[in-house]
Symmetry: C2
């Protein structure tokens, strides 16, 4: 889910609708990943390093090989908002505007593949299936953004934190033991809360027996039901 850009995606376009495109698509499907890899370069970033800044050019986009990335924005008075976290296997930074509206930072150490946008666009014109994959990526991000608007606009603090834990669980494909790569501050800025509120809510979940917190970056879900009940009561 979410900006996943798996091998399978590239090859499952609709049947092409005429001979010429069919020929291109057939060859293209085989070459799509190869072509994408040929225009990509490997990059490495360390904890809290900036991958790109607000205002930078959008000449490239990224896929995460390993690590976690935060997409964020700072208001002039210091308030910060995290628009999204991206995890291993997901892509980010495929933006439309000429300039970055948000910055991207490494939460911990991160390894990325970096792809030039212009070359990707050209590939898209040859490979409808690649074009579709990129569009689907954008649409998944959009759906995710819309759910989070609901969370930010209409949910209470406990509901937000419960949603966050369950989302993390789903996206990291974890079952009960979650590793939480980001700080409490990151979580707060992601959920539109303060760090104190995040701590208090987590503590209250712990007291209620819904979770266990062996250490700050490790949370175990003891009662998924209790958390789910909070999310759309």
């Amino acid at each position: 889910m979410y900006t996943q850009f798996a091998t399978g995606d590239v090859t499952n376009g609709l049947a092409p609708s005429n001979d010429a495109t069919a020929a291109i698509a057939r060859s293209g499907r085989l070459d799509a990943l190869v072509a994408l890899e040929r225009i990509g370069t490997r990059r490495q970033f360390s904890r809290n390093e900036e991958i790109y800044a607000e205002g930078h050019s959008t000449e490239c986009w990224f896929r995460i090989v390993s690590g976690t990335v935060r997409i964020c924005k700072l208001l002039t008075d210091g308030r910060r908002h995290i628009a999204e976290f991206h995890y291993a296997g997901e892509s980010f930074g495929f933006d439309n505007a000429p300039e970055r509206l948000f910055s991207a930072e490494a939460v911990g150490d991160v390894i990325l593949m970096r792809y030039p946008r212009r070359a990707t666009e050209q590939l898209c014109d040859e490979l409808p299936s690649l074009a579709r994959s990129l569009r689907d990526m954008a649409l998944r991000d959009l759906a995710s953004a819309q759910s989070r608007m609901l969370l930010l606009g209409r949910m209470t603090a406990p509901e937000r934190v419960a949603s966050f834990l369950l989302e993390l669980c789903e996206r990291r494909e974890a079952t009960r033991a979650l590793d939480v790569p980001m700080s409490r501050n990151d979580i707060a800025d992601y959920l539109g809360l303060t760090i104190e509120t995040v701590c208090r809510v987590l503590s209250s979940f712990k007291r209620a027996g819904a979770i266990a917190i062996p250490n700050p970056h490790r949370i175990e879900l003891r009662s998924r039901d209790a958390l789910e009940a909070l999310c759309d009561a």
Copy 2:
């Protein structure tokens, strides 16, 4: 801005990168709008009518000929959130998931063009420029959603209302006299506030001389500077 799908968009793809695609694209560009219109049908909805419901199939998408549409979701306890308003000239409902995650409703009387998704996908495979237009549409919506997450997560009530007025102004291409098609309740559910707070903030803006409110669906911006100062102080 925002899911605009103007004539120009369809024809401004990158130069195709080989002869075969070039030939297709050239013919396609001429036919793109025609083809899209051929698969579209005109629909009409009256005030507060549901265009599609949460859970419905996503077999089609829409472009607004005239009127305003709200994309929204109801929580089980009655809390409502409006993910987006769409105005004349904009498109909506091009979703990825098999089922609608949000519903769409007519704010006032609305005239739409309705396009089947499957046929559109096929057109996309033939016309890279159309594929790109649709992707750009999704990316614009995503950028818009991300700004609004910032608003919902980190802005005060006066900042939200000021942002809303300025956004409305920009998207409706108005200068000073705004017509506000939606109710105060809609605005509240869009901004993550209550109707009372929206009213109070508007009244305070009026007292401060920043706006005038000849009637509830008509707002005049008297001091755009005052409003802009609020948005990123």
